[in-house]
């Protein structure tokens, strides 16, 4: 992936339209001097990402956004969501939803598992759209410079959860709360309803190495489920705790539990409100 930004700009202009270009032009980001930020984000590639993901967002998954006024308009924040669906379409749809429903537009910086940057082409494209490798140092730098982080506390086990465990939150890690408390950011709970049925898994072939397993899905392509994305009121980890408490295991456990309960409550609300998997 060494497509110049000019080609990405041309592609998004030709296929994305004026609104896509306008959003990219209004995107505020810390330009390190050559049109990219220190982690490789570039607005033209964000526009390319929107152009590519739009058909899925608008037509295939028909994403419906609820409570997006809870996304902070400025300053740091941690977006914590349930994770599922065999392939990370849920991440792409939340990325789109936040980008489209903030004004001025904000690109959530998705924290990916370690193996993602090692994927040729994909890792680079993701980096251009704002995804960063899941190291503490990357997250710190982004929060300190006022970014929104998108974290899936269930991690890779979440995306690979079996059909029988859909919409039941798996082991809920605490790192997102540690970051939020230490760097004075609120946590915004997010529920993605729909993704957990998009691609049931039959089996997993363990790979070892950077990529933990190869999923064997029941369908070649994701099913055209309808996505509902719910944003809850922020958990004020920036106000309710002091930065020093980021080292207290008891506090982290309690804060993570608060976030988990909020996400589960949003999931339950979404499941209750939707009319069916495809509607």
């Amino acid at each position: 992936m060494a497509v110049p930004a000019s080609v990405a700009r041309l592609f998004s202009s030709a296929f994305g339209g004026a609104s896509v270009r306008d959003r990219a032009e209004r995107l505020e980001f810390p330009d390190a001097g050559h049109g990219y930020d220190l982690f490789g984000l570039n607005p033209d590639f964000v526009a390319l990402g929107e152009t590519v993901a739009s058909p899925m967002y608008d037509r295939y998954f028909r994403v419906e956004s609820h409570g997006n006024e809870n996304i902070p308009a400025t300053g740091p924040g941690v977006l914590a969501a349930n994770h599922s669906g065999t392939l990370p379409f849920d991440g792409a749809m939340v990325w789109m939803d936040v980008y489209r429903n903030t004004n001025p537009p904000r690109v959530p910086r998705a924290i990916a598992d370690y193996f993602v940057p090692s994927l040729p082409f994909v890792g680079t494209l993701f980096a251009r759209c704002g995804v960063v490798g899941g190291s503490r140092g990357n997250a710190r730098a982004l929060l300190e410079s006022g970014n929104l982080l998108l974290i899936f506390p269930e991690g890779t086990p979440g995306i690979g959860k079996p059909w029988s465990k859909r919409y039941k939150l798996q082991d809920w890690r605490q790192g997102h709360c540690e970051l939020a408390i230490r760097y004075r950011a609120p946590v915004i709970p997010i529920a993605v309803v729909g993704a957990e049925e998009q691609m049931p898994q039959l089996a997993q072939i363990p790979l070892g190495g950077a990529m933990p397993y190869l999923p064997i899905p029941a369908t070649l392509f994701p099913l055209p489920v309808k996505y509902h994305i719910y944003y809850g009121e922020p958990v004020r980890t920036d106000l309710d705790y002091t930065p020093e408490q980021a080292d207290d295991p008891g506090v982290l456990k309690e804060a993570a539990q608060r976030v988990k309960e909020r996400v589960q409550a949003l999931i339950d609300k979404g499941l209750k409100e939707r009319k069916g998997i495809f509607r």
Binding site: M1, A2, P4, D31, A32, G33, H34, Y36, L38, F39, G40, Y114, F115, P117, S118, L119, P120, F121, G123, T124, V132, G133, S135, R136, G137, N138, R140, A141, A210
Partner: protein, 322 residues
């Protein structure tokens, strides 16, 4: 008014630093040391405020004679140690003596020296470990590359850096280690410069990490600020330009060919054998996959250093920050 000793004075960075220090009215005298003969070293006009000496720093006795001879007589207070073997393919005891043992001797002798009160060591971003699990934006507490499999070029740089760091707080003189971004310019020993200067740049297909490069002018500014500063510590010295690897190749005007990494190493090995060029893919492989950008916050806060001199790229000119 203070006097300064500059080792590695005939390198491109050393020469620029010496010029700058000679022009600095706060500096009384500059003692420049290099391995070039005096008649060809430092080819610029200078008055009586500069002395050039040819000294082989790989020999401990010569260092002793230098420090307790001319350095003491001139009352040198600050030593700027730039001397480092720059050819990545050269290995062996003599190279190690120049890279590590020379610094060890300077550190030891400075500790009991009557006039030296400050020692600046120019280190390199190469000392940092690059890994998927580690941040791309690197602070001074980032893990170092302690791999025994690294070539001597890297091992020596890490050992020299750690040797200086280990003396901090223990020695009478202040020790400052500046881990600098690669300076793009001839004679800097920059692997990136040699990579960009090749007729064709071969880079790993599918990867386009962020790289940070510095101009010689910025490295010289950082060294000057550290010369006049006080206190000790380790500082990252980033360059002005942070951009994707492919973009840097494009801006250098070099054709690029992405290809599988397994093919790149033998091709650069062949280039070295045929053309004597210095770029070693093995040294740069991880950086060319995952990237490394120096975080310069500490240098900005303590040394008042901010990179301000962009590279004048052959294609497209210097960068413009918003």
């Amino acid at each position: 008014m203070k006097s300064v000793l500059v080792t590695g004075a005939t390198t491109s960075i050393g020469e620029r630093l010496v010029r700058s220090l000679v022009a600095d009215t706060r500096i009384d005298h500059v003692l420049a040391v290099g391995i070039e003969p005096p008649d060809s070293a430092l080819p610029f006009a200078h008055g009586k405020r500069l002395t050039y000496l040819r000294v082989d720093l790989a020999r401990e006795r010569r260092i002793r004679e230098l420090l307790f001879g001319p350095v003491r007589e001139l009352g040198v207070e600050v030593v700027v140690h730039l001397a480092q073997h720059s050819v990545a393919h050269d290995e062996g005891r003599h190279v190690h003596a120049q890279n590590v043992e020379a610094l060890r001797s300077i550190l030891e002798l400075s500790d009991r020296h009557p006039t030296i009160r400050r020692l600046l060591v120019k280190s390199y971003a190469d000392v940092y470990r690059v890994s998927l699990e580690l941040p791309v934006l690197v602070t001074e507490d980032h893990p170092l590359n302690l791999s025994a499999d690294s070539p001597q070029y890297v091992r020596d740089r890490v050992e020299a850096d750690l040797t200086a760091c280990a003396r901090m707080g223990l020695a009478d003189c202040e020790i400052v280690v500046l881990r600098t971004a690669e300076a793009l310019g001839p004679g800097t020993g920059s692997q990136m410069y040699d990579f960009l200067e090749a007729p064709v740049a071969l880079r790993p297909a599918g990867f386009d990490p962020m790289v940070n490069v510095a101009s010689i002018a910025d490295i010289v500014v950082a060294l000057e600020k550290a010369t006049h500063g006080s206190g000790e510590g380790v500082f990252n010295i980033p360059g002005y330009d942070t951009l994707p690897l492919s973009e840097s190749i494009r801006k250098w005007g070099t054709p690029q060919i992405p290809m599988p990494g397994a093919l790149i190493r033998p091709l650069y090995g062949l280039r070295h054998r045929l053309r004597g060029s210095d770029f070693r893919y093995g040294i740069n492989r991880r950086r060319m996959h995952y990237g490394l950008v120096l975080d310069g916050n500490r240098a900005r806060e303590i040394l008042d250093y901010t990179p301000e001199n962009p590279i004048d790229w052959p294609v497209g000119g210097p960068a413009r920050r918003s």
